[in-house]
């Protein structure tokens, strides 16, 4: 029995799933349930950095706001009939067919309006905030660097070693990633081509206590490590494989994701891979004038979408799909109103993508609200704090201890369901997977998606104390997939359980209602 299946089966075996939550204490479960599982140790996180500030409003288009978007950004807005509709109220940019397909397969999750309080519109400051995961301007470590510092103190001294022979993180290309900056060194190794072999001259240097001496020690440690890590990476690349035919051979994003698939399949134990994509600072010519579905931004999104879809396909073919998850991020979104150069200026919050077999749900968070009146320099207000996303990834994906995670961040963490679908053992239960809520978290309304045979289905909302909040419906449904709106207006913000009672059992999903903004 897998680690979390026990929790799940206890919950489902009682009469009403929510009722058990009433007195259910995780502390009552045996201690080792909370230790990092074997599965989590083998898990890989791939981060794609969209450098420059991605225009979220032309990436994931809120269809219910389309009329006002026409007023604010007519010269760059893509005609509605060209968009790729993924829910009644959301559509993707037409260049994103690959990611649209992943969404349909339940392998893409989108968090809306992700950002941080008091947006700073400098690329540099904002990127520092996103890579450090802190608002403190004096923070020098990256968020994953802090996590790895906790797990592997004293790095880089005595690394690599027999327990940890492989690089902890790999940054594709020639630059290490600020995300992985630790206390004493950067945890990421820059790898341009994993097939390169390393055989650098090793000499002993003495640190005389000056800046010079610190550099000498840094460089000689780096040389020793580069040789050791380089040999591991090289061996894994040669042992590995890649099977998808969907990669674009002429595109760097595709090339790098393919290298990553090759290294993972070759057995490299690296936990984190980082891919950087430049060009998102689209102040002008974001779209081709008169043909807004084409242009620089379309090309960027097409490259990302195609590469991610190919990568996911590759992981599937390689049989390692449940070990790998991915995330995109960008330092900010762009302003709601476009400028006259067919571009957009620096803005605030934007959508963030998670991809992989284990993503929790479709769209998380409500659509942004676009006003019909021009507000100078207005961006999209933040609703989901990016630090909550990071913390939730650490919890769901690396199964880090929530208290330890809390210690890594400045604010009280609000954990979101982001990558927990494999943890719950739901991968063995296709039916349960078919139940999803979007957006989640939501504002006043969300949509429940489920499939059933010709049967009576009862949908209820409970709060976490097990009290019935509302019965959404209880009626006969036709066989197939259904979308049912769930209203939470007038209800306090917080966590709820939505249950779907069918002949085959009761399936529940956690739902979070956000504070009204």
């Amino acid at each position: 029995m897998k680690r979390r299946n026990f929790v799940q089966s206890v919950a489902l075996s009682s009469i009403g799933a929510p009722l058990i939550l009433k007195n259910f204490k995780f502390g009552a479960v045996t201690e080792d349930l909370f230790k990092t599982s074997r599965a989590a140790e083998d898990r890989v996180l791939v981060i794609i950095r969209l450098n420059g500030g991605n225009d979220g409003l032309n990436t994931l288009i809120p269809l219910d706001q389309y009329a006002n978007l026409t007023i604010q950004r007519q010269n760059i807005l893509i005609p509605q009939n060209q968009l790729l509709t993924i829910t009644p109220n959301n559509a993707l940019h037409p260049a994103m067919t690959g990611m649209r397909d992943l969404f349909t397969e339940g392998k893409l999750s989108i968090l809306q309006n992700v950002g941080y309080p008091e947006q700073n519109r400098s690329h540099f400051r904002s990127m520092d905030i996103w890579t450090s995961g802190m608002l403190d301007p004096n923070a020098t470590r990256g968020w994953l660097g802090r996590y790895l510092d906790q797990e592997f103190p004293n790095f880089p001294d005595a690394y690599p070693n027999t327990q940890n022979p492989d690089p902890f993180a790999i940054s594709m290309g020639y630059e290490v990633s600020a995300t992985c900056q630790g206390l004493a060194a950067n945890f990421s190794v820059a790898i341009n081509n994993p097939f390169d072999s390393y055989n650098l001259v090793e000499t002993g240097q003495v640190n005389d206590g000056t800046y010079y001496g610190a550099h000498m020690e840094y460089l000689s440690t780096l040389i020793t490590q580069a040789n050791a890590y380089g040999a591991q990476v090289n061996a894994a690349a040669n042992a590995g494989n890649t099977l998808s035919t969907m990669y674009d051979p002429n595109d760097d994003v595709s090339k790098n994701l393919r290298y990553i698939a090759q290294m993972i399949s070759g057995g490299l134990k690296t936990k984190i891979y980082i891919v950087n994509v430049n060009g998102f600072d689209t102040h002008n010519a974001q779209v081709v004038s008169g043909a807004p579905a084409t242009g620089d931004h379309a090309n960027l999104l097409s490259r990302i979408s195609k590469a991610v879809a190919a990568f996911q396909n590759d992981l599937h073919l390689l049989g390692i799909e449940s070990r790998v998850a991915g995330m995109t991020f960008s330092e900010f979104g762009r302003q709601i109103a476009s400028n006259a150069s067919d571009g957009t200026d620096h803005g605030d919050a934007a959508p963030l993508f998670l991809f992989g077999r284990c993503v929790s749900s479709g769209i998380i968070g409500p659509n942004p609200v676009i006003s019909n009146t021009i507000v100078d320099q207005a961006g999209i207000p933040m609703q989901i704090d990016f630090r909550d996303v990071y913390a939730s990834i650490l919890k769901d994906w690396f199964e880090a201890d929530p208290q330890e995670i809390q210690g890594m961040f400045e604010q009280t963490i609000n954990f979101l369901p982001v990558l927990d679908s494999c943890n719950l053992g739901l991968d063995e239960n296709k039916e349960a997977l078919d139940v999803s809520l979007f957006p989640n978290p939501c504002a006043d309304q969300t949509t429940l998606k489920f499939t059933c045979s010709n049967e009576r289905v009862t949908i209820r909302v409970y709060d976490l104390s097990g009290t019935l909040v509302s019965e959404v419906c209880s009626k006969e449904f036709q066989p197939g997939e259904h979308l049912v709106p769930v209203q939470l207006d007038g209800k306090p913000s917080g966590n709820y359980m939505v249950t779907v009672h069918k002949n085959s059992g009761t399936f529940s999903k956690k739902l979070m209602k956000l504070k009204n903004i």
Partner: protein, 537 residues
């Protein structure tokens, strides 16, 4: 690994003139930081001339001859002539423009590969980093912008900012050319404050960055409306130009935040941008931002609280009292006690151009073929530096190269595992292979020329000492020194090297005696270029 805070603090934080010992170590430190790889004779001359005369020489800016046409795709200018005032062909300007951009890239490498004792190229690259332009646009616009850096390289900072604000290339790069009354584009207005002048301070409130606010960015965008660029890729006009259209200018009165004394900027048409820059430069903390950048460029990445309150404050006072003339600040810094403090020697990991040209320049290696071959060779040099992470014409972002601002790694970003491997490969390429070969014409490190100009080439120990003087800040360990010498002598007694060298000098044209000598020096340098000691300056 020693945490940074434990690094030895400078003994002197003073900008008063340095009066300590003046040996090869100090002279080489000065030349390494202000040039790209001094030769042994330049170091020796600096020792003999003394600090003051050497700094004076460094701050004298020799002229340059303009870039020349060399590429087959150039459709207008004859090969060997300069294209900088020539029009484009009436149709299909693209190939000619690419040919001119290739010429520019090669030309910058040629300039850096020059033997002058001058700070010129370090300052030009400094401004290229400061303004962070991705300059692969219309070649004459790119050239014109770089000419502003060169002509003003030790000149007035305020004037340079004004010149850059309406520079055609900059108007194109940060969208000033499409910033107008009907739709302000904030791109340049933001970077002007954040990266070019006052710099961004801590965010102390919503849209409030200590030295300016979001409202200032919006007001600045309006102030700068109306400028655009004409005659790009023109087949009739000799130069692209900027132009001001008052009908596209926002003539409303703009009000700045309290950081600029809540100043009002009334409509002043095409002079309004200059009035605005005057206001920016009147902010009391204005000088510090540039001084920090100068400090990081020439001295050390680590701006400790002590450095901030002493060195930076003093530099800023000099810059302000000289009405933003840059030369007095640089002169004071290069002659200061702090600059020669032992704690800051070797504190900078060389950037890719410093690595590349410390190999080439220090050995007096200059290609000497026809114009097209030389330019083609330099274009290859340009590509080498690009691969190592520093492409002269294209800063990676408007903030410049990350090694000059990204805490806490700074110049270590030039030398992660993958880039370090490239550096080593480059060292091999320039020594023990044929190097860059264009139509059968090879260019690599000239080991014999290097050897001939050392102080006592017939002495193996002296050759090694000279090599360490030229290429390292503090030498290498005794063990490593022995390794290097035994590579030079091929494991034989020192006198065998002397015999071999004397045979070569007696008959320098005879490759049977010169080739073994050249190869021994190449092998020593090949090893040296892989040592951590070579990577810093």
């Amino acid at each position: 690994m020693i945490p940074e805070e434990n690094v030895q603090e400078p003994v002197s934080l003073s900008l008063t003139p340095y009066t300590g010992t003046w040996t090869k170590a100090e002279a080489a430190h000065l030349l390494r930081r202000t040039m790209f790889g001094p030769t042994l004779s330049q170091i020796t001359a600096a020792v003999n001339n003394g600090m003051n005369a050497t700094v004076t020489q460094l701050l004298t800016i020799p002229g340059v001859s303009p870039p020349l046409a060399f590429h087959a795709d150039e459709a207008v200018t004859p090969i060997g002539s300069t294209w900088v005032n020539d029009v484009y062909p009436a149709s299909n300007a693209g190939p000619t423009n690419n040919a001119r951009l290739f010429s520019l890239g090669a030309w910058f490498m040629q300039r850096i590969n020059q033997p002058d004792v001058s700070i010129r190229e370090k300052m030009c690259l400094f401004w290229g980093n400061h303004f962070g332009v991705d300059g692969t646009n219309e070649a004459k616009a790119v050239y014109g912008m770089h000419e502003k850096y060169r002509q003003n390289c030790l000149g007035n900072f305020k004037q340079l900012v004004k010149d850059m604000t309406t520079d055609p290339m900059m108007l194109l790069f940060l969208n000033g050319a499409t910033n107008n009354l009907y739709s302000p584009n904030e791109n340049y207005a933001r970077e002007l404050l954040e990266l070019f002048t006052v710099g961004k301070g801590a965010q102390v409130g919503p849209g409030d960055y200590s030295n300016y606010t979001e409202a200032d960015v919006a007001a600045g965008a309006k102030i700068l409306t109306g400028w655009t660029v004409l005659d790009l890729y023109s087949s009739t006009a000799s130069q692209p130009s900027n132009v001001f259209y008052s009908v596209l200018h926002d003539s409303s009165s703009k009000t700045l935040s309290s950081y600029f004394g809540s100043a009002t900027v009334p409509d002043a048409g095409d002079l309004e941008y200059a009035n605005y820059i005057d206001i920016i430069f009147s902010q009391p903390n204005m000088a510090k931002y540039l001084c920090r950048k100068i400090y990081r460029w020439f001295v050390n990445y680590d701006l400790t609280a002590n450095v901030e309150s002493t060195v930076i404050a003093d530099m800023a006072a000099t810059l302000t009292s000289n009405n933003f003339e840059v030369l007095p600040v640089i002169e004071q810094l290069l002659k200061s006690e702090h600059f020669y403090d032992i704690s800051v020697r070797g504190a900078i990991i060389k950037n890719p151009l410093e690595v590349l040209f410390s190999m080439l320049n220090a050995s007096g290696s200059v290609p000497n073929y026809s114009v097209p071959v030389n330019y083609e060779i330099y274009l290859n040099v340009y590509y080498l530096s690009q691969v190592m992470g520093m492409e002269y014409l294209r800063a990676p972002s408007v903030g410049g190269w990350t090694a000059y601002y990204q805490t806490p790694a700074f110049s270590r970003l030039w030398a992660n595992s993958s880039l370090l491997k490239l550096r080593f490969d480059l060292g091999a390429y320039m020594t023990v292979t044929n190097g860059i070969v264009v139509n059968g014409n090879a260019f690599k490190l000239n080991a014999l020329n290097f050897l001939d100009n050392l102080s006592l080439p017939s002495s193996a120990p002296q050759v090694i000492d000279d090599i360490l003087t030229v290429f390292t800040c503090k030498g290498v360990s005794l063990v490593e020194k022995t390794v290097l010498k035994s590579i030079l002598t091929n494991g034989q007694p020192d006198f065998e090297w002397t015999i071999q060298y004397n045979d070569y000098i007696a008959d320098p044209g005879n490759t049977t005696v010169s080739t073994p000598v050249r190869q021994r020096v190449e092998l020593v340098l090949y090893r040296l270029f892989q040592l951590p000691e070579f990577q810093v300056m």
